[in-house]
């Protein structure tokens, strides 16, 4: 009996001592945190996606408070988040552009793209991209369809549909992770307001493109001549629409022989 009482007393005393030590240590080694940092952190979306260039949302909040990152630096939170943070920080938010959305510049789905072989091996676009001949499709510039972007997306906004990556515009937060993940460099962030875009990246000459894919930009330049705004340029056998100039008249899309300028 006395044994039990003794051990209870010893434990209680040790517990009290350790507790007092912790209280003392907590006071002595206190780290001053800026209350604004906590507030800013609460405005950020908390995905830790890293699209802002910081290690995560905590690091971003600290950087904003230190003045090292712009208050509207979070591409995921967008304008709303930027406004809240600028209110906390008491600085002007600056212009946040229109909301961006990822866009995959390839339309080589299974029905229009011919395949040249079977592939068995590591199921990732990086692995397929370094193979001789780059994956199973004839086109070596297009979507490989092994879903490296799908794995990279923190918002479940991109999926392989019919052999080609497709972005769910309502879910996309324009963090840019898929842009970095794509070994073919197919994904571009375009303003959500943009209407038309060239959905192909094949840089070969038109005759070769035709043998590879039914939905390939032939580099014919018809769209360039159609555009009254001068928004379309042709480089490396591929048309590109400058979204800041495009007014969405749709004349280019009507003329495109490959029907590759599409409403996004």
């Amino acid at each position: 009996m006395s044994m039990i009482i003794a051990s209870v007393i010893v434990l209680a005393v040790v517990g009290l001592l350790v507790g007092m030590m912790l209280v003392f240590a907590g006071e002595a080694f206190k780290v001053e945190t800026d209350p604004r940092e906590v507030a800013v952190r609460e405005c950020l979306p908390g995905n830790n996606c890293g699209a802002c260039g910081q290690a995560g949302c905590d690091a971003m909040a600290a950087a904003i408070v230190r003045g090292e990152a712009p208050v509207n630096g979070c591409p995921v939170g967008g304008a709303a988040c930027g406004e809240k943070i600028s209110a906390i920080m008491g600085v002007a938010g600056g212009e946040t552009g229109p909301r961006n959305v990822a866009f995959v510049k390839c339309a080589g789905t299974c029905d229009v793209m011919k395949t040249k072989c079977n592939y068995v091996g590591i199921e990732s676009c990086e692995a397929a991209a370094v193979l001789p001949g780059k994956g199973i499709k004839y086109c070596t510039h297009g979507c490989l369809g092994y879903g490296s972007c799908v794995k990279a997306c923190p918002f479940d906004a991109i999926h392989i549909v019919d052999g080609v990556a497709k972005v769910d515009r309502s879910k996309c937060m324009a963090c840019g992770k898929c842009v970095a993940a794509c070994p073919q460099k197919l994904i571009e962030l375009l303003p959500d307001t943009s209407i038309f875009a060239v959905q192909c990246s094949n840089k070969e000459k038109g005759a070769l493109v035709k043998t590879e894919c039914d939905a390939g930009c032939l580099g014919c330049g018809l769209c360039v001549r159609q555009c009254e705004q001068g928004a379309i340029t042709l480089a490396n056998n591929i048309a590109h629409i400058d979204q800041s100039k495009c007014v969405g008249c749709g004349k280019c899309a009507a003329k495109c022989p490959a029907k590759i300028i599409r409403v996004r």
Binding site: K116, C117, G121, I122, E126, A127, V130, P132, G133, K134
Partner: protein, 447 residues
Amino acid sequence: MRTKTFRGGVHPSGMKELSQGKPIQFYEPKGDLVFPLSQHIGKPAVPVVKKNDPVLTGQIIAKADGFISANIISSCSGKVKAIEPRMTTAGVVAQCIVIQNDGKFDTVPGFGVPNDDWASMTNDEIIQKIMDAGVIGLGGAGFPTHVKMRPRNPEEIDYIIANGAECEPYITCDERLMIEHSDWIVAGIKVVQKLFPHAKGIIAIEDNKPEAIKAMQAAISGESNMEIMPLHTKFPQGGERNLVHAVTNRKMESRDLPANLGCIVDNVATLTAIYHAVCCNEPLVSKGFTVTGDAVAEPANFMVRIGTDISELLEAAGGLKTQPKKVIIGGPMMGMAITSLNRPIAKSYNALVCMTEDPVEKAFEQMTNCIRCGRCVRVCPVGLVPQQMAVAGQRKDYAKYEKIHGLDCIACGSCTFICPAKRPLTQLFQLTKKEIMAQKAAAAAKK
């Protein structure tokens, strides 16, 4: 006495019986010949002909660009049809010279004229001749031979190893070369011995080729400074590092070249090319090539002109008897699958294997997680730990991958072959290596 070998390695079934007994046939192409400008390790060659220029067999059509590069020689006569980017056998679009073959094979003056007093040539002249002839390592890697012949320590070279291991399954062209033209190989070794007078010639042959060993034995009778060394049959016995270790018992560190350990290693086909270049004034226009596999009607060994279309050569071997499921250029362990037969044969390719079954596909269906049995470690001929490398590769932990010497992987495929969990290890290592190289190149470009 136990035959010599190296540590590690695997025993894939040889499959050499398909083409082993078939004598070498000389094949003259009928169609156009295509010469990619980059058939070797190093900088691509620079074309010295223009469109519509007439060319002759043995004419230099592209010159080496820099020290580590090699000339490209036309292997037929006719005229230059085009110099344009084409899909090469390696699956990349690269600049190629296309020659319209007139079927006459007219040669440049002096081509094939025996050069009897080659022994009085200086070393520089011999090496220049090898360089002019566009000779590269014909075993597969394609390293320019003239570079190999200029080591920093010519005095210390004491072994010239003729690599007749031919450890890849299916391939038999080197074996046939050793049986039928052993004198060419011996003459090639003599030329290299002229460059390195203290060196002993060792002809290393796996012991599954008794006929080749016998033929070479007969060819070197009377030569005091040459020896045949039968080696244990094991893949990758013909890998440069493994061969040096097996023959000399000298261990190569990761940065070593064979020359650092006093060895010059040349494939028997390369030695043949050296002999032809130096003693016969005949540049590298043709090479041994095996067409084999269970889908080929009559597997055969050819002496084929470089640039010949693969489909044309396949027809010469009786065509396909069944639809193949997989077509590989090179051997099944280290070769690569190709997607079209309308591709040219480059200098460094030595076989076409058409298989009715794809073992990789079967293996992939059975893939499970790593069971950490360590068999990959036991078979790795370089002494690496593939299991750890795979973990680092999957996590994209490139610093760790480099730290455990993952960049020394020679991609022989032994670990993938032995893996009971059927993991695609070699592919992962190749991918990781390429990504690390790309990162390094990007970092260097930034500076």
